[in-house]
Amino acid sequence: MLMSVFWVYRYNFHLFPRDELRLGMPSYSFSCQSSYLSSMALSGFDFNMCIYDGISYLSRVQESLARQKIFIPHIRQFSPSPSTSVADSIFMNRIKSRIEHWRKGYAEPSTTVDGSLVSSLRQLLLGCESYGSRPSIRIDVCSDRQVQLVLEAVNHISDDLVSLVVPDKAGTARAVRVIFTNSTEDKNLLLTDIQKLEDEHNLKFRGFREVIDLLSSSQKPIISYNCLIDFTMIHSKFVAPLPPNLKEFMCSLRMVFSNVIDISHMWREIGPLRKAKNIQAALSYLQRQYFVPMDVEIHQQDANNSVTKSGENVLRITKLFAKLSNLLKISPNSQSQSDEKCYTVEEYCNIFYPSCKVKESDDANFSNESDTNRAMSTDNVVFLWGFRETSVKELRSHLAGLHHVFLKDFELKLLDRSCSALIFHSSDMATELLREISLESPSLSDFFSEGLKAGGFDVYMKVCRLGLWDSDLAEALEGVSSEPATSMPSGHGTSEIYWNSSLMLDLREYLEC
């Protein structure tokens, strides 16, 4: 059997949100988790390279904002005006004669040699400037109409003139710059120069986002692993601020990347691999159990580059994808093949796993991932805080003595050291508890005197929406629940959450509805 090979080209981009345009974009400030920085430092991340030379970027939304604020001289296409009034033609003639007079000085060099004083005087009188090494003249305008007229006039005079529209800070045209070129080659040279300037300017705006745009427009499948968090990052940094809910996010992401494949979804298709916990595990299992006539080779271009951890990971993902796609009989270009057994990549697209807590470890163990997801209503959940017990057991026994609802069966989970979630098996218990708390019923006097507080899922949601991340969850819940719940926006009722969140999100589901 022939060994097929994927050629791999690896790139490692260093990014830094530098404020190139002095507009407070892409971000005015950013927050760092010092433990994360430490672990990056341990794995040899080069912060100096990242900060000194990192590529900046603007998201699509930020770019359009920036374009409303920063303008550069540009070439405007001349569109012949339909009608010309008398005033217009007078203006045009005046401009025309002025430009012609100026042009004559360069097109037909005078035989007499002027003194430097004379020539500089003439330059001053004519309003000459130089554009690089080329002579140019600046014609002030005060409206878009005048810009058109000047362009038209220039168009009539000669082909060796190039005109640039110069905007002011607010973006309205202030002047037209007419540049004289010696020859057609010179003109082309100038035009490419201008184009280059514009490209540089665009690069300043988009920076690294060019890469994202390139990937997006190529419509190629994007392979990743546990990528929901990565794509929320990509969306917020390079596309637009994150939408208020998951559904809109998915739609919006779909517009940018139509083909995203989570590699872990692919390996779930292969029975024995279902329980693989990470890439390394899946890869080593595949290598042990299957012979896959498919390999990955790295292109020489970057063989001498130092390999970073993320580079390593990307390579593993590619390797795994190559092998999996072979096993699952996905062909890289399914359209061209007539094999009816061939699955398309699209089958695996856009399915994400929301659990982002998967530990990235290199040990190749399989673990027992519980397959039981229980859906439960948010009505069943009560958040409890204000306790001093540190273990679930202690807390549970303490609660049992406080109120009769706590005698019933419920699950208890410590969320942090100050707050826990109670999951009741029926929503009645939870609502009863919350109602009694809001009524401050006497049966709960022990509960209150212990300093215990509780709130429903709505309180938690509000905390999350307000972004109160900086303190303990208990502090945040306390702050939110103490104010009257008047300003709660409508539009969210009961919804289902999954207690064990190892389920998947299918983008298509969202798009069909």
């Binding site: 760092c32 010092s34 900060i51 307000l466 939110v480």
Partner: protein, 727 residues
């Protein structure tokens, strides 16, 4: 001392220069600008990271003890968390403090520069030792709940990068710290835990529930362990009878290593899984009263598990106590070592030397928040606290403004540290043409040649070098103030100098405030040398407006308010950012009038509210207004949004503070406004407004003439005029 050689400022300098003592203090003037590749070449600055902190600290201790004063500087990861958090000249003192506090709490200190200056009478020169400490706030204690997150301001990080700040060293080698409050908390926790354990003893071992023996393997393992321990114990007991403590000949090799633990025979338990260890403990608990399971931490933070034989029950209790004490001690040691760079701060505090900084109020706030504890809520409290810790602080920025000669010298020039440095401390060898400047006091830099590797030549905006420059500037400023160093004793603290005394503990609160903070009282007073750009603000006359549309410029606000309240009604409009502004009225009553009018206009959704001059501001329906107190509350909030309007809304919706009630007042006030109208003008705005409203409903807008509306507006205006005049 002899072992040290004075290093010249420049390592590249010719040998001759090495001999000629280290010169005064600076390179030839580099001009006032910021453009140069900064730094006096070759000032040896000692770089201190995690690796050499202990040594550097020992050395620094002696240096600080001998010092006349100590220059300090901090490099931070940012200054303002949002554009509107910038300090403005017209901020009230408490608001300014809140803004600075926010900055100090949010951003991290990345470098601390400390430079002790010692007076050497023999040489008639100051000898300095610049130190540059890298700081990185990573988590050092395992169970420390506090979140270690810090903010970076993009422009600040970029700025540091431009001056070649070494982020790799900072993040990899940076020294951690615990503030005094954190340390206290950690120790407290340790002691309570320890106390609990002591009191709970000896029941601790029985506390754990039984491990059910689930499988045959478990049962077999348990039995085997029982037999083995039995053998071992019998061997020890029998051995003891024969030849005392010599367990060496006991054959018990296969998995156990025989050791002594605190004079007791013991075996190491290596290579067991946690489940097996649980089973072992259970066996010991159930069948062996004289064997104890002991788990200790060893040097490299790994657990060592042993089974120890004890002769008697008393012996066992004593042993357990001993072990716990050890555990406590080792944990204490961990906490102590986590103190890290705070030792430097403690050192400076305990020596009570004069601390010198340049525009250092924010630095001092940072030092307090990182190394002492959470910042107090008011400037007064903060000042009193800091005064206890650092009794003498001098700010060169302030000293510059108290001497007329220096004032003239720096007039029209940048007041940044590096430009002042090059101005005041030109090379000693410069010709005497500049008769206006005093002859600079000589300053030498001393470096220890045995550890050259950790010295680098200082560069601008490196904390260590900045601390050195600050000290140099300070020395020259002292000379201008008439401080004589000649009769300064070698270890004397400059803080007690009579000529300096009155300038100490006065710090400019920020570059544009025009005030200095008196740290001994906690109050601000105006800085004589500062040129104010705005007239003094009367905060009772100020209204805060936010949420207007971004196209509305401060000038538009001014125009439309002048249209309503008269041209003289406004003192100033100050733009906070593109979404908010502070409007100062000339009369206090106008504040309430404005808020009332706004509420009234918002409550009536008619042509009047559309055509009213104020509609420019109110357009969009998101515009809010409140008194100055609301501004303070918004600044106090721990949230930080990019736009002020977003921040204000967030503060508004999260907390039940005065801001809210303020707005309720405003809403209620609309009623009073309307009744006031009724009282004075019979057929006035209100009825007109009602009329138009019904008009809209019934016949459409054709029936109201433009004249009607204008008339109504006119009435409103005259009414306001009357009110303003009458009050």
């Amino acid at each position: 001392m002899q072992s040290r050689r004075r290093l010249l400022l420049s390592l590249r300098a010719p040998p001759k220069a090495v001999l000629c003592r280290l010169l005064s203090c600076s390179p030839p003037s580099r001009g006032g600008g910021d453009g140069g590749v900064g730094g006096a070449r070759g000032v040896a600055v000692k770089q201190v990271t995690r690796g050499n902190l202990a040594d550097a600290l020992e050395e620094l201790r002696a240096r600080v003890r001998d010092a006349a004063f100590v220059g300090i500087d901090l490099e931070m990861s940012g200054v303002t968390s949002a554009p509107w958090r910038d300090t403005f000249e017209l901020d009230r003192a408490d608001v300014r403090y809140l803004k600075l506090r926010d900055s100090a709490e949010r951003f991290a200190a990345l470098q601390l520069g400390v430079c002790p200056f010692r007076w050497d009478p023999a040489k008639c020169a100051f000898v300095s030792h610049p130190h540059n400490f890298f700081i990185f706030p990573h988590k050092e204690l395992p169970n420390d709940g506090s979140s270690h997150e810090f903010l970076c301001q993009t422009t600040s990080i970029d700025f540091l990068a431009n001056y070649q700040f070494d982020f790799n060293t900072c993040f990899r080698e940076g020294i951690h710290y615990l503030s005094r409050a954190q340390e206290e908390q950690a120790l407290q926790k340790l002691y309570t835990l320890h106390g609990d354990e002591i009191s709970a003893y000896p029941n601790t071992s029985e506390e754990e529930g039984d491990v059910p023996l689930k499988s045959a393997a478990d049962i077999l393992f348990t039995e085997r362990m029982k037999i083995k321990f039995n053998e071992w114990r019998d061997a020890i007991i029998s051995d003891q009878r024969v030849d005392g403590h010599s367990p060496g000949n006991v054959k018990f090799k296969d998995r156990f290593q025989m050791v002594f633990f605190k004079m007791h025979p013991a075996i190491m338990l290596n290579g067991f899984t946690s489940h097996q260890l649980k089973l072992i403990r259970q066996v010991l608990r159930k069948h062996f009263r004289d064997l104890v399971y002991i788990c200790t931490f060893c040097e490299d933070n790994t657990l060592e598990k042993r089974v120890v034989y004890t002769d008697t029950n008393d012996d066992k209790i004593l042993l357990m106590k001993d072990v716990r004490e050890d555990l406590l001690k080792s944990k204490e040691a961990i906490v102590k070592s986590a103190v890290g760079i705070r030792h430097v701060i403690d050192l400076l505090a305990s020596e009570r030397k004069l601390i010198v900084g340049h525009s250092c109020f924010l630095d001092i706030l940072q030092v307090y928040s990182k190394f002492i504890g959470p910042l107090p809520s008011s400037m007064e409290e903060f000042s009193l606290d800091i005064n206890k810790i650092f009794p003498y602080i001098a700010d060169t920025r302030h000293l510059m403004s108290v001497n007329q000669v220096v004032q003239n010298l720096v007039r029209q020039k940048s007041k940044s540290l590096s430009s002042v440095f090059s101005l005041l401390c030109p090379a000693l060898h410069a010709s005497d043409e500049k008769s206006s400047t005093l002859a600079p006091v000589r300053i030498e830099v001393e470096a220890d040649e045995t550890a050259l590797s950790c010295f680098t030549s200082g560069a601008k905006h490196e904390a260590g070098y900045d601390a050195f420059m600050t000290g140099c500037v300070f020395v020259q400023l002292c000379a201008y103030l008439g401080v004589k160093f000649d009769n300064l004793l070698p270890h004397e603290n400059l803080a007690t100098n009579i000529k300096l005394e009155k300038h100490i503990n006065l710090l400019p609160s920020c570059w544009n405030s025009g005030t200095v903070v008196d740290l001994s009282t906690g109050t601000e007073r105006p800085d004589a040398g500062y040129k104010h750009r705005y007239p003094a603000t009367v905060y009772d006359n100020v209204v805060l407006i936010w949420g207007f549309q971004s196209k509305v410029k401060p000038k538009d606000i001014k125009d439309c308010i002048c249209k309503v309240f008269g041209p003289a009604s406004l003192t100033s409009v100050f733009s906070i950012d593109s979404t908010a502004a502070l409007v100062q009225f000339s009369k206090q009553e106008s504040v309430n009038d404005f808020l009332d009018l706004k509420a009234a206009l918002e409550s009536t959704d008619t042509a009047i509210s559309v055509l009213h001059p104020l509609s420019t501001i109110l357009e969009g329906g998101q515009t809010r207004a409140a008194k100055y107190a609301a501004y303070r509350d918004i600044c106090r909030s721990s949230l930080s949004k990019f736009f002020f309007a977003d921040q204000a809304e967030a503060v508004h919706s999260t907390s039940n503070n005065e801001l809210k009630s303020e707005n309720h007042d405003v809403a209620n006030a609309s009623g009073t406004y309307e009744s006031a109208l009724d009282g004075t003008v019979p057929a006035s705005v209100k009825q007109e407004a009602e009329g138009t409203k019904s008009g809209f409903k019934n016949q459409g807008d054709n029936d109201i003439t433009y004249q009607d509306i204008l008339g109504a507006l006119q009435d409103g205006k005259t009414l306001f005029g009357k009110r303003v005049r009458s009050t």
